[in-house]
Symmetry: C2
Subunit: 160 residues, 2 copies
Amino acid sequence: MNNDLFVKMAINNWQGEIDAANKLLDELSDENLALEIAPGRNRGIYLLGHLTAIHDMMLPLLRFQQSTYPELQPIFVDAPDKTADAIPAAKQLRQQWKEVNDLLLQYIKALPADEWFTRHASISEGDFPKEPHRNRLNVLLNRTNHAGYHRGQLALLKKK
Amino acid sequence: MNNDLFVKMAINNWQGEIDAANKLLDELSDENLALEIAPGRNRGIYLLGHLTAIHDMMLPLLRFQQSTYPELQPIFVDAPDKTADAIPAAKQLRQQWKEVNDLLLQYIKALPADEWFTRHASISEGDFPKEPHRNRLNVLLNRTNHAGYHRGQLALLKKK
């Protein structure tokens, strides 16, 4: 009975997090993003690329479709900041961030409530009955929290 | 049918966030906590007090019981960092942080699944039927994300 409600709550939380991240990114210039969030730490642009890559990887993890920008993963997930020879420009990453989230949201909104309780792609059909919490909805909860973690860091780039 | 499962998922996410915060706090000395997370920004100790106060305020918000340390709210929620005349020592805040989370978890674990879909304390019984997502479980989802946001900032105090 509460399935619809719970799924709606989880999706609202996800969307609220994306909206907050977008609002923050609008307040940050490309010059801001080029700065480290704290001395010696990740640059803002790395975190933008990291979040874009992780959200892009949610497309296959949620069994929606393949990643749209798989080339971001080695740069922004597998490697730490300041180790890649070159990274995409902020302008391009902003565009990819928007595209990936828009595409994700289309799938998210279209998925029937009961389907959220089916397995995500990293657990086999054989193992899933033993670990039913490893479902698609749990991916959404986790990635909402992940986005918030890095948004707290990106917020440090705002002018005071 | 899935009530139990998604309440369990939300609680697991909360507990995972608290565990991660505790692990991080164990790695940070009181001297680390006295530092700003980035130049001119909040100090670690302020964020510890802030999280403790917000979690303490969850006790009445979730209709469990009254806050245990209401004196933290004016210092760590209503006022920004570096404006209070004096703040509690790190040692005391660490103790309060632990106590508040332990107490919360007892209530959280004891609450029957269906009860999570009842109203939280900031919405009236009259308004709740119109906004059924403003339930206790939504507070848990929100506060999990809030803790992650600040954990991302506290992580910057770790020695590299």
